[in-house]
Protein backbone atom coordinates (compact mmCIF):
# COMPACT_ATOMS: atom_id res chain seq x y z
CA UNK A 1 0.00 0.00 0.00
CA UNK A 2 1.24 3.51 -0.87
CA UNK A 3 0.76 6.69 1.12
CA UNK A 4 -1.78 7.98 -1.42
CA UNK A 5 -3.86 4.84 -1.07
CA UNK A 6 -3.64 5.13 2.71
CA UNK A 7 -4.91 8.73 2.67
CA UNK A 8 -7.85 7.66 0.53
CA UNK A 9 -8.98 5.06 3.08
CA UNK A 10 -8.07 7.27 6.10
CA UNK A 11 -11.66 8.42 6.78
CA UNK A 12 -12.68 4.75 7.19
CA UNK A 13 -10.05 4.12 9.89
CA UNK A 14 -12.63 4.44 12.68
CA UNK A 15 -14.40 1.29 11.62
CA UNK A 16 -11.34 -0.87 12.17
CA UNK A 17 -7.91 -1.43 10.72
CA UNK A 18 -7.17 -4.06 8.02
CA UNK A 19 -3.89 -5.96 8.03
CA UNK A 20 -2.72 -3.98 5.02
CA UNK A 21 -3.31 -0.69 6.83
CA UNK A 22 -1.53 -1.95 9.89
CA UNK A 23 1.46 -3.03 7.84
CA UNK A 24 1.67 0.38 6.14
CA UNK A 25 1.44 2.25 9.48
CA UNK A 26 4.24 0.14 10.85
CA UNK A 27 6.48 0.83 7.88
CA UNK A 28 5.58 4.48 7.07
CA UNK A 29 6.56 7.10 9.67
CA UNK A 30 4.70 9.96 7.93
CA UNK A 31 1.35 8.18 7.84
CA UNK A 32 1.84 6.94 11.40
CA UNK A 33 2.49 10.51 12.58
CA UNK A 34 -0.57 11.70 10.68
CA UNK A 35 -2.78 9.14 12.45
CA UNK A 36 -1.23 10.12 15.78
CA UNK A 37 -1.95 13.82 15.17
CA UNK A 38 -5.53 13.08 14.17
CA UNK A 39 -6.08 11.05 17.37
CA UNK A 40 -4.63 13.86 19.50
CA UNK A 41 -6.92 16.43 17.87
CA UNK A 42 -9.88 14.15 18.46
CA UNK A 43 -9.03 13.83 22.17
CA UNK A 44 -8.44 17.55 22.60
CA UNK A 45 -11.72 18.36 20.93
CA UNK A 46 -13.53 16.51 23.72
CA UNK A 47 -11.80 18.66 26.29
CA UNK A 48 -12.86 21.94 24.76
CA UNK A 49 -13.62 24.42 27.56
CA UNK A 50 -17.15 25.84 27.82
CA UNK A 51 -15.75 29.32 27.63
CA UNK A 52 -14.50 28.74 24.18
CA UNK A 53 -16.94 30.21 21.75
CA UNK A 54 -18.67 27.74 19.52
CA UNK A 55 -18.77 28.29 15.83
CA UNK A 56 -21.46 30.54 14.35
CA UNK A 57 -23.55 27.62 13.12
CA UNK A 58 -24.34 26.76 16.78
CA UNK A 59 -26.01 30.14 17.33
CA UNK A 60 -27.79 29.87 14.04
CA UNK A 61 -29.25 26.50 14.90
CA UNK A 62 -30.46 27.79 18.30
CA UNK A 63 -31.99 30.80 16.57
CA UNK A 64 -33.71 28.54 14.08
CA UNK A 65 -35.27 26.36 16.78
CA UNK A 66 -36.43 29.40 18.77
CA UNK A 67 -38.03 30.79 15.60
CA UNK A 68 -39.69 27.46 14.97
CA UNK A 69 -41.25 27.51 18.43
CA UNK A 70 -42.43 31.04 17.83
CA UNK A 71 -40.39 32.45 20.66
CA UNK A 72 -38.56 34.92 18.46
CA UNK A 73 -39.55 36.42 15.16
CA UNK A 74 -37.56 36.96 12.01
CA UNK A 75 -36.69 40.66 11.92
CA UNK A 76 -38.10 42.60 8.96
CA UNK A 77 -36.04 42.29 5.80
CA UNK A 78 -35.28 46.02 5.35
CA UNK A 79 -34.22 46.48 8.95
CA UNK A 80 -32.40 43.19 8.85
CA UNK A 81 -30.53 44.27 5.72
CA UNK A 82 -29.40 47.55 7.23
CA UNK A 83 -28.85 46.34 10.79
CA UNK A 84 -27.64 42.81 10.19
CA UNK A 85 -24.06 43.47 11.23
CA UNK A 86 -25.13 45.14 14.52
CA UNK A 87 -28.01 42.79 15.32
CA UNK A 88 -25.97 39.79 14.34
CA UNK A 89 -23.43 40.72 17.02
CA UNK A 90 -26.15 41.37 19.62
CA UNK A 91 -28.05 38.18 18.85
CA UNK A 92 -24.92 36.15 19.32
CA UNK A 93 -24.99 36.99 23.05
CA UNK A 94 -28.71 37.40 23.58
CA UNK A 95 -29.88 34.13 22.12
CA UNK A 96 -28.11 31.72 24.51
CA UNK A 97 -29.07 34.00 27.39
CA UNK A 98 -32.68 33.99 26.28
CA UNK A 99 -32.60 30.22 25.79
CA UNK A 100 -31.24 29.68 29.32
CA UNK A 101 -33.83 32.03 30.79
CA UNK A 102 -36.65 30.29 28.96
CA UNK A 103 -35.50 26.86 30.12
CA UNK A 104 -35.34 27.98 33.75
CA UNK A 105 -38.71 29.73 33.50
CA UNK A 106 -40.26 26.64 31.93
CA UNK A 107 -38.92 24.39 34.69
CA UNK A 108 -40.25 26.71 37.39
CA UNK A 109 -43.67 26.88 35.77
CA UNK A 110 -43.75 23.11 35.43
CA UNK A 111 -42.85 22.61 39.07
CA UNK A 112 -45.44 25.14 40.23
CA UNK A 113 -48.13 23.46 38.17
CA UNK A 114 -47.09 20.14 39.65
CA UNK A 115 -47.20 21.40 43.25
CA UNK A 116 -50.53 23.20 43.10
CA UNK A 117 -52.66 20.15 42.33
CA UNK A 118 -50.85 18.34 45.15
CA UNK A 119 -51.70 21.12 47.62
CA UNK A 120 -55.24 21.26 46.33
CA UNK A 121 -55.60 17.51 46.87
CA UNK A 122 -54.39 17.83 50.42
CA UNK A 123 -56.80 20.59 51.18
CA UNK A 124 -56.60 22.62 54.36
CA UNK A 125 -57.91 20.74 57.31
CA UNK A 126 -58.77 22.81 60.38
CA UNK A 127 -56.08 23.21 62.98
CA UNK A 128 -55.85 20.29 65.34
CA UNK A 129 -57.96 17.99 63.18
CA UNK A 130 -56.01 15.20 61.58
CA UNK A 131 -57.70 13.07 59.00
CA UNK A 132 -56.90 9.40 58.92
CA UNK A 133 -55.73 9.27 55.34
CA UNK A 134 -52.89 11.80 55.91
CA UNK A 135 -50.53 9.40 57.71
CA UNK A 136 -47.46 9.00 55.49
CA UNK A 137 -46.22 5.53 54.71
CA UNK A 138 -43.04 6.03 56.78
CA UNK A 139 -45.22 6.73 59.81
CA UNK A 140 -47.19 3.58 59.13
CA UNK A 141 -43.96 1.61 59.01
CA UNK A 142 -42.87 3.14 62.27
CA UNK A 143 -46.15 2.21 63.90
CA UNK A 144 -45.78 -1.35 62.63
CA UNK A 145 -42.33 -1.47 64.21
CA UNK A 146 -43.67 -0.17 67.49
CA UNK A 147 -46.57 -2.62 67.36
CA UNK A 148 -44.17 -5.50 66.84
CA UNK A 149 -41.92 -4.52 69.74
CA UNK A 150 -44.43 -3.12 72.18
CA UNK A 151 -48.09 -3.45 71.17
CA UNK A 152 -49.32 -1.49 74.19
CA UNK A 153 -47.53 1.66 72.98
CA UNK A 154 -48.82 1.64 69.43
CA UNK A 155 -51.89 3.77 70.09
CA UNK A 156 -49.87 6.34 72.02
CA UNK A 157 -47.36 6.65 69.20
CA UNK A 158 -50.12 6.97 66.63
CA UNK A 159 -51.81 9.76 68.57
CA UNK A 160 -48.51 11.58 68.97
CA UNK A 161 -47.62 11.19 65.31
CA UNK A 162 -50.95 12.65 64.30
CA UNK A 163 -50.40 15.64 66.58
CA UNK A 164 -46.94 16.20 65.19
CA UNK A 165 -48.06 15.82 61.58
CA UNK A 166 -50.76 18.42 62.18
CA UNK A 167 -48.09 20.71 63.61
CA UNK A 168 -45.88 20.21 60.57
CA UNK A 169 -48.75 20.83 58.21
CA UNK A 170 -49.74 24.11 59.86
CA UNK A 171 -46.13 25.21 60.15
CA UNK A 172 -45.43 24.48 56.49
CA UNK A 173 -48.47 26.44 55.42
CA UNK A 174 -47.41 29.35 57.58
CA UNK A 175 -43.84 29.25 56.28
CA UNK A 176 -44.98 29.03 52.66
CA UNK A 177 -47.36 31.95 53.12
CA UNK A 178 -44.75 34.05 54.89
CA UNK A 179 -41.33 32.99 53.62
CA UNK A 180 -39.59 35.98 55.22
CA UNK A 181 -41.20 35.50 58.62
CA UNK A 182 -38.63 34.24 61.12
CA UNK A 183 -41.32 33.09 63.51
CA UNK A 184 -42.92 30.95 60.82
CA UNK A 185 -39.53 29.35 60.20
CA UNK A 186 -39.19 28.76 63.93
CA UNK A 187 -42.54 26.95 64.02
CA UNK A 188 -41.39 24.72 61.19
CA UNK A 189 -38.08 23.87 62.84
CA UNK A 190 -39.87 23.05 66.08
CA UNK A 191 -42.37 20.85 64.29
CA UNK A 192 -39.64 18.87 62.55
CA UNK A 193 -37.78 18.58 65.83
CA UNK A 194 -40.84 17.00 67.37
CA UNK A 195 -41.16 14.52 64.51
CA UNK A 196 -37.51 13.61 64.77
CA UNK A 197 -37.89 13.04 68.48
CA UNK A 198 -40.84 10.70 68.03
CA UNK A 199 -38.92 8.64 65.49
CA UNK A 200 -35.83 8.56 67.64
CA UNK A 201 -37.73 7.41 70.68
CA UNK A 202 -39.63 4.77 68.76
CA UNK A 203 -36.65 3.26 67.03
CA UNK A 204 -33.78 3.71 69.38
CA UNK A 205 -34.73 4.66 72.89
CA UNK A 206 -36.91 3.23 75.54
CA UNK A 207 -38.00 0.22 73.57
CA UNK A 208 -36.31 -3.11 74.29
Amino acid sequence: MTCEEFERVLPELGSGHSNELEEHLKSCLACSDLVGDLNAISQQARLLQASEEPSPWVWKSIEASLQQEGLIRQPQQERARTLVPLLGWKLRWLVPLAAAFLVVFGVLMHERRGVQPELAKRGTPPVGVVTADLMPSEDQQLLNTVAARMPSMRDAYEANLRSVNAYIRDAEQSANSNPNDEVAQQYLMNAYEQKAMVYEMALDRSLP
Binding site: V183, R205, S206
Partner: protein, 283 residues
Protein backbone atom coordinates in the same frame (compact mmCIF):
# COMPACT_ATOMS: atom_id res chain seq x y z
CA UNK B 1 -60.77 -19.76 124.86
CA UNK B 2 -60.84 -16.16 123.78
CA UNK B 3 -57.05 -16.08 123.83
CA UNK B 4 -56.90 -19.21 121.67
CA UNK B 5 -59.22 -17.64 119.14
CA UNK B 6 -57.12 -14.44 118.97
CA UNK B 7 -53.97 -16.48 118.51
CA UNK B 8 -55.56 -18.49 115.75
CA UNK B 9 -56.74 -15.36 113.93
CA UNK B 10 -53.31 -13.79 114.26
CA UNK B 11 -51.66 -16.87 112.85
CA UNK B 12 -54.00 -16.91 109.87
CA UNK B 13 -53.33 -13.26 109.16
CA UNK B 14 -49.58 -13.79 109.33
CA UNK B 15 -49.80 -16.71 106.97
CA UNK B 16 -51.80 -14.65 104.52
CA UNK B 17 -49.31 -11.75 104.69
CA UNK B 18 -46.37 -14.02 104.15
CA UNK B 19 -48.14 -15.70 101.27
CA UNK B 20 -48.73 -12.30 99.66
CA UNK B 21 -45.07 -11.42 99.88
CA UNK B 22 -44.09 -14.77 98.51
CA UNK B 23 -46.45 -14.35 95.57
CA UNK B 24 -45.02 -10.90 94.78
CA UNK B 25 -41.58 -12.45 94.29
CA UNK B 26 -39.86 -9.10 94.69
CA UNK B 27 -36.16 -9.19 95.13
CA UNK B 28 -33.77 -6.48 96.02
CA UNK B 29 -30.33 -5.98 94.60
CA UNK B 30 -27.70 -3.45 95.56
CA UNK B 31 -24.73 -2.26 93.56
CA UNK B 32 -21.87 -0.01 94.61
CA UNK B 33 -19.41 1.73 92.34
CA UNK B 34 -16.50 3.93 93.24
CA UNK B 35 -16.20 6.83 90.82
CA UNK B 36 -14.17 10.01 90.40
CA UNK B 37 -15.11 13.56 89.63
CA UNK B 38 -17.75 14.25 86.97
CA UNK B 39 -18.73 10.62 86.66
CA UNK B 40 -21.66 9.64 84.50
CA UNK B 41 -24.42 7.13 85.09
CA UNK B 42 -26.89 5.83 82.55
CA UNK B 43 -30.00 3.88 83.57
CA UNK B 44 -32.37 2.29 81.08
CA UNK B 45 -35.46 0.96 82.78
CA UNK B 46 -38.47 0.10 80.68
CA UNK B 47 -40.98 -0.15 83.51
CA UNK B 48 -40.75 1.38 86.93
CA UNK B 49 -39.63 4.51 88.73
CA UNK B 50 -36.11 5.85 88.92
CA UNK B 51 -35.12 8.27 91.65
CA UNK B 52 -31.69 9.90 91.68
CA UNK B 53 -30.42 11.90 94.66
CA UNK B 54 -27.03 13.02 95.89
CA UNK B 55 -25.17 10.67 98.19
CA UNK B 56 -22.04 10.85 100.30
CA UNK B 57 -18.52 10.63 98.95
CA UNK B 58 -17.48 9.52 95.50
CA UNK B 59 -19.70 6.48 95.32
CA UNK B 60 -22.64 5.50 93.22
CA UNK B 61 -25.15 3.32 95.05
CA UNK B 62 -27.92 1.62 93.11
CA UNK B 63 -30.76 -0.13 94.93
CA UNK B 64 -33.02 -2.06 92.58
CA UNK B 65 -36.27 -3.79 93.50
CA UNK B 66 -37.25 -6.39 90.95
CA UNK B 67 -40.87 -7.52 90.76
CA UNK B 68 -40.32 -10.88 89.11
CA UNK B 69 -37.70 -13.15 87.69
CA UNK B 70 -38.64 -12.06 84.20
CA UNK B 71 -36.25 -9.13 84.44
CA UNK B 72 -32.57 -8.99 85.29
CA UNK B 73 -30.14 -6.15 85.90
CA UNK B 74 -27.19 -5.74 83.57
CA UNK B 75 -24.64 -3.46 85.15
CA UNK B 76 -21.18 -2.36 84.12
CA UNK B 77 -18.57 0.23 84.92
CA UNK B 78 -15.95 1.58 82.54
CA UNK B 79 -13.75 4.23 84.06
CA UNK B 80 -16.05 6.94 85.31
CA UNK B 81 -19.06 5.65 83.39
CA UNK B 82 -21.62 3.43 85.07
CA UNK B 83 -24.30 1.73 83.03
CA UNK B 84 -27.43 0.03 84.43
CA UNK B 85 -29.92 -1.69 82.17
CA UNK B 86 -33.11 -3.53 83.11
CA UNK B 87 -32.94 -6.48 80.78
CA UNK B 88 -36.43 -7.84 80.08
CA UNK B 89 -36.62 -11.58 79.57
CA UNK B 90 -39.12 -13.41 77.43
CA UNK B 91 -42.69 -12.98 78.61
CA UNK B 92 -42.04 -9.83 80.64
CA UNK B 93 -44.69 -7.15 80.67
CA UNK B 94 -45.31 -3.87 82.49
CA UNK B 95 -45.99 -5.70 85.76
CA UNK B 96 -43.47 -8.50 85.73
CA UNK B 97 -40.81 -6.38 84.04
CA UNK B 98 -41.00 -3.62 86.57
CA UNK B 99 -37.89 -2.53 88.48
CA UNK B 100 -37.81 0.30 91.01
CA UNK B 101 -34.50 2.15 91.23
CA UNK B 102 -33.20 4.33 94.01
CA UNK B 103 -29.84 5.79 93.12
CA UNK B 104 -27.40 7.86 95.14
CA UNK B 105 -24.67 9.66 93.22
CA UNK B 106 -22.06 12.37 93.81
CA UNK B 107 -23.56 15.82 93.19
CA UNK B 108 -21.49 16.51 90.08
CA UNK B 109 -22.55 13.31 88.31
CA UNK B 110 -23.99 13.47 84.81
CA UNK B 111 -27.20 11.46 84.81
CA UNK B 112 -29.00 9.88 81.85
CA UNK B 113 -32.35 8.16 82.43
CA UNK B 114 -34.50 6.38 79.88
CA UNK B 115 -37.85 4.83 80.63
CA UNK B 116 -41.21 4.19 79.08
CA UNK B 117 -43.46 4.43 82.13
CA UNK B 118 -41.31 6.04 84.81
CA UNK B 119 -41.86 8.14 86.89
CA UNK B 120 -38.45 9.74 86.86
CA UNK B 121 -37.14 11.94 89.62
CA UNK B 122 -33.86 13.84 89.95
CA UNK B 123 -32.95 16.30 92.67
CA UNK B 124 -30.10 18.34 94.08
CA UNK B 125 -27.49 17.67 91.44
CA UNK B 126 -25.22 20.02 89.53
CA UNK B 127 -24.15 17.83 86.65
CA UNK B 128 -25.95 17.29 83.36
CA UNK B 129 -29.37 15.65 83.45
CA UNK B 130 -30.70 13.91 80.34
CA UNK B 131 -34.09 12.26 80.58
CA UNK B 132 -36.18 10.45 77.98
CA UNK B 133 -39.55 8.97 78.73
CA UNK B 134 -42.53 8.02 76.63
CA UNK B 135 -45.33 8.34 79.11
CA UNK B 136 -43.13 8.85 82.15
CA UNK B 137 -43.81 11.68 84.55
CA UNK B 138 -40.61 13.66 84.97
CA UNK B 139 -39.77 15.67 88.06
CA UNK B 140 -36.50 17.59 88.32
CA UNK B 141 -35.86 19.90 91.26
CA UNK B 142 -33.07 21.86 92.92
CA UNK B 143 -30.66 21.32 90.05
CA UNK B 144 -28.10 23.87 88.96
CA UNK B 145 -25.28 24.67 86.59
CA UNK B 146 -25.71 21.88 84.13
CA UNK B 147 -27.53 20.92 81.00
CA UNK B 148 -31.06 19.68 81.53
CA UNK B 149 -32.45 17.95 78.45
CA UNK B 150 -35.83 16.25 78.71
CA UNK B 151 -37.88 14.51 76.04
CA UNK B 152 -41.25 12.86 76.46
CA UNK B 153 -44.09 11.88 74.22
CA UNK B 154 -46.95 12.55 76.60
CA UNK B 155 -45.34 12.39 80.01
CA UNK B 156 -45.83 15.55 82.05
CA UNK B 157 -42.66 17.42 82.97
CA UNK B 158 -42.10 19.53 86.08
CA UNK B 159 -38.96 21.52 86.78
CA UNK B 160 -38.66 23.30 90.12
CA UNK B 161 -35.85 25.56 91.27
CA UNK B 162 -33.49 24.94 88.40
CA UNK B 163 -30.87 27.66 88.20
CA UNK B 164 -27.97 28.66 85.95
CA UNK B 165 -28.87 25.81 83.67
CA UNK B 166 -29.13 25.15 79.98
CA UNK B 167 -32.65 23.73 79.68
CA UNK B 168 -34.13 22.10 76.60
CA UNK B 169 -37.49 20.38 76.83
CA UNK B 170 -39.40 18.69 74.03
CA UNK B 171 -42.73 17.01 74.59
CA UNK B 172 -45.45 16.19 72.11
CA UNK B 173 -48.45 16.23 74.38
CA UNK B 174 -47.10 16.31 77.92
CA UNK B 175 -47.78 19.42 79.97
CA UNK B 176 -44.65 21.30 81.00
CA UNK B 177 -44.41 23.28 84.23
CA UNK B 178 -41.37 25.41 85.02
CA UNK B 179 -41.28 26.87 88.51
CA UNK B 180 -38.37 29.18 89.32
CA UNK B 181 -36.31 28.09 86.39
CA UNK B 182 -33.65 30.29 84.94
CA UNK B 183 -30.47 29.97 82.96
CA UNK B 184 -28.61 31.03 79.88
CA UNK B 185 -31.05 29.08 77.71
CA UNK B 186 -34.52 27.77 78.49
CA UNK B 187 -36.30 26.29 75.49
CA UNK B 188 -39.57 24.41 75.59
CA UNK B 189 -41.05 22.89 72.47
CA UNK B 190 -44.50 21.41 72.84
CA UNK B 191 -47.08 20.31 70.35
CA UNK B 192 -50.39 20.00 72.22
CA UNK B 193 -49.16 20.11 75.82
CA UNK B 194 -49.62 23.21 77.94
CA UNK B 195 -46.62 25.24 79.03
CA UNK B 196 -46.62 27.00 82.37
CA UNK B 197 -43.73 29.20 83.50
CA UNK B 198 -43.55 30.87 86.90
CA UNK B 199 -40.33 32.78 87.47
CA UNK B 200 -38.45 36.01 86.88
CA UNK B 201 -36.64 34.99 83.68
CA UNK B 202 -33.26 35.58 85.31
CA UNK B 203 -30.61 37.72 83.63
CA UNK B 204 -29.05 37.44 80.19
CA UNK B 205 -31.08 34.37 79.34
CA UNK B 206 -32.70 33.21 76.14
CA UNK B 207 -36.20 31.91 76.89
CA UNK B 208 -38.35 30.34 74.22
CA UNK B 209 -41.69 28.72 75.01
CA UNK B 210 -43.33 27.46 71.83
CA UNK B 211 -46.27 25.23 71.13
CA UNK B 212 -48.54 24.19 68.33
CA UNK B 213 -51.90 24.21 70.06
CA UNK B 214 -50.99 24.04 73.74
CA UNK B 215 -51.73 27.13 75.82
CA UNK B 216 -48.79 29.08 77.22
CA UNK B 217 -48.97 30.87 80.54
CA UNK B 218 -46.01 32.84 81.87
CA UNK B 219 -46.17 34.42 85.30
CA UNK B 220 -43.51 36.98 86.14
CA UNK B 221 -42.96 39.55 88.90
CA UNK B 222 -43.27 43.30 88.32
CA UNK B 223 -39.47 43.64 88.40
CA UNK B 224 -38.80 41.14 85.59
CA UNK B 225 -36.31 42.49 83.10
CA UNK B 226 -37.25 41.11 79.70
CA UNK B 227 -37.45 41.78 76.02
CA UNK B 228 -40.61 39.87 75.15
CA UNK B 229 -42.25 38.81 71.92
CA UNK B 230 -45.55 36.94 72.03
CA UNK B 231 -47.48 35.76 69.04
CA UNK B 232 -50.23 33.31 68.29
CA UNK B 233 -51.29 32.77 64.70
CA UNK B 234 -54.80 31.67 65.54
CA UNK B 235 -55.04 31.94 69.31
CA UNK B 236 -55.60 34.77 71.73
CA UNK B 237 -52.74 36.70 73.32
CA UNK B 238 -52.95 38.64 76.59
CA UNK B 239 -50.48 40.76 78.47
CA UNK B 240 -50.71 42.19 81.99
CA UNK B 241 -47.57 44.32 81.81
CA UNK B 242 -47.01 47.82 80.44
CA UNK B 243 -44.34 47.29 77.82
CA UNK B 244 -42.11 49.78 76.11
CA UNK B 245 -42.69 49.23 72.42
CA UNK B 246 -39.87 48.00 70.25
CA UNK B 247 -39.30 47.46 66.60
CA UNK B 248 -40.26 44.00 65.37
CA UNK B 249 -40.31 42.22 62.04
CA UNK B 250 -44.06 41.74 62.36
CA UNK B 251 -46.89 44.13 63.18
CA UNK B 252 -48.05 43.66 66.79
CA UNK B 253 -51.79 43.22 66.63
CA UNK B 254 -53.90 43.52 69.73
CA UNK B 255 -55.17 40.11 70.73
CA UNK B 256 -52.79 38.11 68.58
CA UNK B 257 -49.32 39.53 69.16
CA UNK B 258 -47.39 41.90 71.32
CA UNK B 259 -43.77 42.89 71.73
CA UNK B 260 -41.88 45.19 74.04
CA UNK B 261 -39.43 45.55 76.88
CA UNK B 262 -39.58 45.74 80.66
CA UNK B 263 -36.86 46.99 82.96
CA UNK B 264 -33.46 46.70 81.37
CA UNK B 265 -34.56 43.93 78.98
CA UNK B 266 -31.91 41.64 80.41
CA UNK B 267 -33.42 38.42 79.06
CA UNK B 268 -35.00 37.61 75.74
CA UNK B 269 -38.39 35.91 76.00
CA UNK B 270 -40.37 34.42 73.13
CA UNK B 271 -43.87 33.08 73.69
CA UNK B 272 -45.03 31.55 70.44
CA UNK B 273 -47.99 29.37 69.68
CA UNK B 274 -49.72 28.47 66.49
CA UNK B 275 -53.24 28.14 67.85
CA UNK B 276 -52.88 28.09 71.62
CA UNK B 277 -53.64 30.96 73.96
CA UNK B 278 -50.78 32.98 75.39
CA UNK B 279 -50.96 34.93 78.61
CA UNK B 280 -48.14 36.92 80.20
CA UNK B 281 -49.38 37.39 83.75
CA UNK B 282 -48.20 39.68 86.50
CA UNK B 283 -47.58 37.84 89.77
Amino acid sequence: MYRKQSTAIFAVVMVLVLATFAAAETSRKEFHFKVGRRASISIINQYGPISVKPGPGKHVTVIATLYSDKVEIDQSKSGKRVSINSHLLEGADATTGRVDYEVLVPGDTNVTLRSTTGPLHVERLYGDVIIEGNTALVDVRDVSSGHVHIKTLNGAITLTNVSDAHVEITSVSGDVALNTVNGSLVHVNSSTGKIHYDGDFGEAGDYSLTSHSGDIEAIAPYYASIDVVARSVQGKVENDFPLLPEHTSFVPRSGSAFAGTMGKAASSVKLLSFSGKIHLKKR
